[in-house]
Symmetry: C2
Subunit: 183 residues, 2 copies
DNA sequence: GTACCTTTGAAAACGGATCTCAACCAGCCG
DNA sequence: CGGCTGGTTGAGATCCGTTTTCAAAGGTAC
């Protein structure tokens, strides 16, 4: 089940943000001397209306529904363009796949990944961030970006008792894209 | 250049630890009803004397020097056994390779990865850890393990001015195994 | 020795990311 | 409009790290 921005909660701000992002991408395409094509528009739209952590393959599947002729190479390339334009951002959850999430106007956040059901909780802590910076400073390290991920069992899965024993120390989760957004 | 535990600083504690780890692995092998073989011993030894972040391929290369007949499959399998035994632990630095580091008696730590030279700084912050736990609690999330990584430019590389501009937001480092251990 | 295992290594399969290349098409010019 | 130029596209190939397969080799118990 993919959650859409416009699907069940239409908000003016969403529509506005969508247009803004669209403008940014168009601008980026133009500045790079590239061309505005139907495929790029479709892929961009699909990415923008979807509030999820998507792999290239996920996005390709969604795009494919609208236009089966679009190949995965184009999705891959457009996703790279979206990243360059600052609209998308790569994330990895440890299953050796690259996921993409929104970047523009979406504050930086970190992730908790449930190793039982694969759901992802997004969170942010100002305190942690500033401690990280302090730590970096101590090593005279100038950070450009970082990633904090915690694996474990989400509240929901703790009720299904058997799940608690599931994950061995080195285990990697089978991440299903079913994210829960948190503060 | 691979740094060895016994290479340039022979310490009694290291020798003791080595024996302890060896015991643990033997125990694990026995308990699992497996056999103690020359290949496993060689691979274990090589892993244990090497204080680095190693990929399967790195370790295979080292083992291969001692005994060219050992295949990479066996290294792969033994590394998994070492992980199961609690002697090794997987780490990923974002270059789509799996690195292994010591786990037993090696405190948990996090990583700063220089995107210019690929060196890795290990660090630990009690304060960050406890804030993480607090954060998890807030979401009723029970963490089993976590990973905090910061990418950026290390002190050394900041002197080579050009390096500072190097890394674009989405860029992944080419990680060279040349780690620096920190507090 | 024999029967019954596990272990091993070469090679193949796998899976995600990336590249190649010939056909295609957008934008421009006359 | 038509033709030209150079970026775009998609199928398939390639890459590369990981994991599996399978037949041969090696241990162990009796």
């Amino acid at each position: 089940m993919i959650k859409s921005r416009f699907g069940w909660s239409w908000m003016e701000t969403d529509r506005y943000l969508f247009e803004k992002e669209r403008q940014i991408f168009l601008e980026h395409i133009k500045l790079a001397g590239l061309r505005w094509t139907g495929q790029r528009e479709l892929i961009m739209n699909t990415f923008l209306i979807t509030e999820e952590h998507l792999t290239i393959d996920d996005l390709h599947r969604l795009v494919h529904r609208e236009d089966p002729s679009v190949g995965h190479t184009t999705v891959y390339r457009t996703l790279r363009l979206l990243t360059e334009a600052g609209l998308a951002r790569e994330v990895r959850f440890g299953d050796n796949k690259t996921y993409f999430e929104h970047h523009y106007n979406h504050d930086h956040h970190d992730h908790m990944i449930c190793t039982a059901c694969g759901s992802v909780i997004e969170f942010f802590s100002e305190a942690i961030e500033s401690l990280q910076d302090k730590m970096a400073e101590q090593f005279r390290f100038v950070p450009t970006h970082h990633s904090l991920r915690m694996w474990g069992i989400c509240a929901e899965c703790q009720n299904k008792t058997e799940a608690i024993i599931t994950a061995p120390p080195g285990a990697q989760p089978r991440v299903r894209v079913k994210s829960v957004v948190g503060g």
